[in-house]
Structure formats: C-alpha cells, structure tokens
C-alpha cells in the first residue's frame, strides 16, 4: 500500500471512531425523540405523529416558563458577579489566587444532592425570604459560577490591555474605560459563559429536586422526573423530555451559528 492510501485509510478510521462516539452521545436523545414521535395506531402499524406533544401534562408549559425565567435571571446574576471577579483575577497579581479560585468554584464539584441538602437547611434557617424563585436563582448562580468565570477569564486573557491603556492615557476614567472599551471588546467572548449557564440552569435537576421541597415552585425538569417515576416510558413523558432537550439544543445551535465554537474553547471545549 502506498503512503497516500495509508493516510486515507487512517483518516477514515479516525472519522469512524469520532462518529461512533458521537452516536453513543446522541443515542439517548435520539431514542427519546423516537419514542415521542413514532407510535403504533389501533391496527399495530407504526405511524409518525406529534400527538404526544399535545398530551403533555398541563402544568408542564407553565413550569417551562418558570424554568426559562429562572435561567435568564441566573445568567444576569452570574455575569454581574463574574465580570469584575474575572477582571481582577486576570489583571492583578495577588497571593493566593489559586486558592481563591478553588474556594469560589469548589461548588462545581460538589454533587447536586449534597449541595441541595445544604441549601435546604440554609434556606430554612437563614435565608427564609429567599424561598421560591429567588432561591433557585441563588442556588444556580452559585453553582454555575465556575462556567461563567472560566469563559470570562479566557475572554479577558485574549484581550490586549493596550486598548485600555490608550483609553486611560486619553483621559478616560477607570469605569469609563471598562464600560466603553473593555466590555464591548470582550463582549463576544463572554457570550460563551452566558450560553452555558443558560442551558445548564434550564436543565438542572437534582439540586432543584431538593430546594423545591420547602417551596411549591417546580421547574420543568422536576416535572419530567416525577412523570418518569409515575408514568414510565409513555409517549407524553418522552415528549416532555425532548422538549427540554430540543429547546437547549436550539439555544446552543443558534449560538454556534452566530459565534462558532471559538469562544467556548478553553473553558469547556478543546
């Protein structure tokens, strides 16, 4: 076999492997979608219909709205916190930087069950006023801070401080420089954090399961879980599960269409 053919065979194997892993990843979503739209009619024939989507339990759409609202507020809060923090981490040298980062983001590694349990306690005894909607926002923004912080840090690192210095030299104040020069220039970079926090807080499930206990606020993933426990694999449950995944997927795809994967790299992507 000559060198060129060898190369071709090799790259075919590479792509086959990648596609194989991608199929494994996509399989759960694909199967759920299959369950939601392929049904058997009275005669036992396989038919394609989206009827399942009309039989979704009533409260689900309302809960989806709640979930979306929580996710959007969470994004706003994480961004408001992580912009200044990331700026400080990138621009200033200080001792214990790594320790600070570890302390800030340890929560990302703490499993949802434990985090949720500790939050239930805290809400119950200390932050009573936070029960409900804002409790979810606080929990999610603390939990997903790592993602927005990482992407913001990457954005600040790729940003040349020369522009800032120029603005300062020309007489702009610190705040003015930040608002008029730094923020517009790193804008696209921080969108990556926005999108990740949005999608993850839309789908967060186990923490929500615990902190929804003292309140009556329920999010959409909780509805999916309780329906799975009660109704098993009936088509409408599959429809619910796909609604959430497809909404998230749509958000990600629209984002990628506009910005590409450029800004996501270095934070959760290679």
């Amino acid at each position: 076999m000559n060198v060129q053919n060898k190369e071709k065979v090799y790259s075919a194997i590479v792509y086959l492997y990648l596609v194989f892993v991608c199929i494994l990843i996509l399989m759960p979503l694909g199967i759920t979608l299959y369950r939601a739209i392929f049904n058997y009619d009275e005669n036992g024939n396989l038919v394609i219909s989206i009827n399942a989507y009309f039989t979704i339990s009533e409260g689900f759409w309302e809960k989806l709205q709640t979930s979306l609202a929580i996710a959007l507020v969470t994004v706003a809060v994480t961004m408001a916190v992580s912009l200044p923090v990331a700026y400080g981490i990138v621009r200033y040298e200080f001792r214990g930087k790594k320790l600070l980062f570890t302390l800030l983001n340890g929560v990302w590694y703490v499993p949802g069950v434990t985090y949720g349990l500790s939050l239930v306690l805290a809400y119950y005894f200390v932050y009573r006023f936070l029960l409900g909607f804002w409790g979810f926002v606080a929990a999610y923004s603390t939990g997903f801070m790592l993602l927005s912080l990482l992407t913001t840090i990457v954005a600040f690192k790729n940003f040349d401080p020369v522009y800032e210095e120029a603005a300062r030299c020309l007489g702009a104040g610190r705040l003015q420089t930040f608002l008029r020069v730094t923020l517009p220039l790193i804008g696209p970079g921080i969108t990556a954090g926005v999108i990740l926090v949005l999608v993850l807080s839309l789908n967060e499930f186990i923490t929500a399961l615990l902190i929804s206990l003292p309140t009556r606020v329920k999010t959409a993933p909780l509805q999916v879980f309780s329906d799975i426990r009660h109704a098993g694999v009936r088509p409408f449950v599959a429809a619910e599960a796909t609604v959430l995944q497809l909404v998230s997927l749509a958000i990600v795809i629209i984002y990628l269409k506009f910005f590409g994967t450029k800004y996501l790299r270095g934070s959760i992507m290679i």
């Binding site: 199967i31 302390l103 929560v107 499993p111 069950v113 801070m145 990457v154 799975i228 694999v233 599959a238």
Partner: protein, 260 residues
C-alpha cells in the same frame, strides 16, 4: 455570594452531621455517632458508589483519550460539529437515563436484538454495565476537555524530534505523547469520578432496585428526606463533599488551566 450560598450552607450541613436524627430542628443533641455508624451501615453504598464512579471514569478515559487526540491532531473537517455534540451530555443525566431506559426496556427498540443474543432485556436493563455505560456518556465531555487541554500543551517539536530520531508513530505516542499528557488523564479521571459520585437519576432509573438505591447520592436523599434521619444524611453528605474538595484541589493543582 459564594460565601452566602456555598459556605454557610456547607457549614450548616457540617454542624447537622453531628446531631442525632432530626434533633437539629428542635433541640440539637450533639454526637459523633453518625460517623461511627456510617462506615458500618453504609459500607455497601460507599463500595457501590466508588466502584461505579471509578469504573465509569476509566471507561471515559479509554473512550475520551482517542477522541481528544483525534480532535486535536487529525480532524480538519466537521471539527465544530463534534465539539457541539459534546455539549449534549451536559444537558443532564436525567435525559441520558431516560433514553437508555426506553432503549432496553422489554418491548423497546433493541429488546429483541438483545434477546436473540441470549440476554434477557430485564437483566440488561437493571444491570451494572448499563449504569456504567450511562455514567460514562454523562461525564465524557469533562474527560475529553481535560485531556485535550494537556495535549494542547505538548510541544509538537518533541514528537517530531522522536520521529526524526527513528521512532515509529506508535513508539512516539507511547514514549512521548502519552507520558506528557498524563496530567490530563489524571485530572480527567478525577473530574469524571467526582461527577459520577453525584449522579442520581442514572443509578435510580437504570441501576434497578438493588444497585440503584444503594449509592451515596440516593442514600443521602433517602436517609435525610424519607426517613428524616437528617444527621446521618448530612454525615454522608459531608463525606462526599470532603472527597470532592480533595479532587477539586488536586485538579486545580495539576491542571494548567486558565489560571496559568
């Protein structure tokens, strides 16, 4: 904010882990009994959890290392598509568990294939391999990312030098690339392990009544909120937090992440 919603709750959890049953809510009775009991009663749960998390993380490395390597070294076309697909497991374990649950349910799409292979669908549904497989899919993105970062950090000239000096591609990989990317493998494994520890929906939906309920995440839920033994539940929680904190500390020490 992290202080208010992360450390204060954790401290409360820590205090509660030293109280007897649900006495924390009324008049706390302090005791260390929970921790003494923990290793006696919940040894099976600890074993199960570590087994599942560890093996799934190892599967992840085996699946994810080639993936990251190919993504960085070989792939030109469709790289962004592969990257985008890697986001999907982050949507949540619940959906992965559900998809697989339907896939191998008796009467589901591949049930007859399994049966023709001599495996009963029910046995396949509530089994260790299925749970491991689901966990592995769930945490694959973290592994690919960690390994990818460390592969990116390797100077290509080392590999080229090895090739020039007469090493075969396989030799180069085994003697140069693999050892240099070891930090990535370690951080990837640890991250994946930490996330698998906290998986709740996958063991409960796929692990079946015996394995699925005897993992830490589920046991924390049951002991604290079903049997209202909050003291024990939070003692288990503290154990998990300690493990994950160690993992996170090691990961930030080893990894050449965004901070360096």
């Amino acid at each position: 904010m992290q202080l208010a919603f992360f450390f204060v709750p954790l401290i409360m959890l820590f205090i509660m882990s030293f109280t007897l049953r649900d006495s924390f809510f009324f008049s706390p009775i302090f005791t260390v009994e929970n921790y003494l009991k923990l290793f006696r009663i919940y040894r099976i749960d600890l074993q199960n959890t570590f087994f599942l998390a560890g093996v799934a993380a190892t599967i992840d490395i085996l699946l994810g290392y080639p993936f990251a390597y190919f993504m960085l070294r070989k792939v030109r076309k469709f790289a962004d598509v592969f990257r985008a697909i890697l986001i999907i497991p982050l949507f949540g374990e619940l959906y992965i568990a559900y998809g697989l649950l339907y896939l191998i349910l008796p009467g589901g799409p591949i049930a007859h294939i399994l049966e023709s292979l001599g495996i009963s669908a029910i046995a396949a549904l509530y089994s260790v391999p299925t749970t491991l497989f689901a966990l592995a899919i769930y945490t694959l993105p973290f592994v690919v990312y960690n390994i990818g970062v460390s592969l990116q950090g390797i100077e290509r000239s080392y590999e080229e030098a090895a090739r020039c000096l007469g090493a075969s591609p396989i030799q180069t990989f085994l003697r140069i690339t693999l050892p240099l990317s070891l930090p990535g493998i370690i951080t990837g494994w640890l991250t994946s392990f930490g996330w698998n520890l906290g998986a709740y929906a996958i063991p409960i939906l796929l692990g079946g009544p015996i394995l699925g309920t005897r993992v830490l995440s589920n046991q924390i839920w049951t002991t604290s909120l079903v049997t209202s033994d909050f003291g024990m539940g939070s003692a288990l929680g503290v154990i998990v937090v300690l493990i994950t904190m160690v993992i996170f500390y090691v990961v930030t020490r080893i990894s050449k992440g965004v901070l360096v």
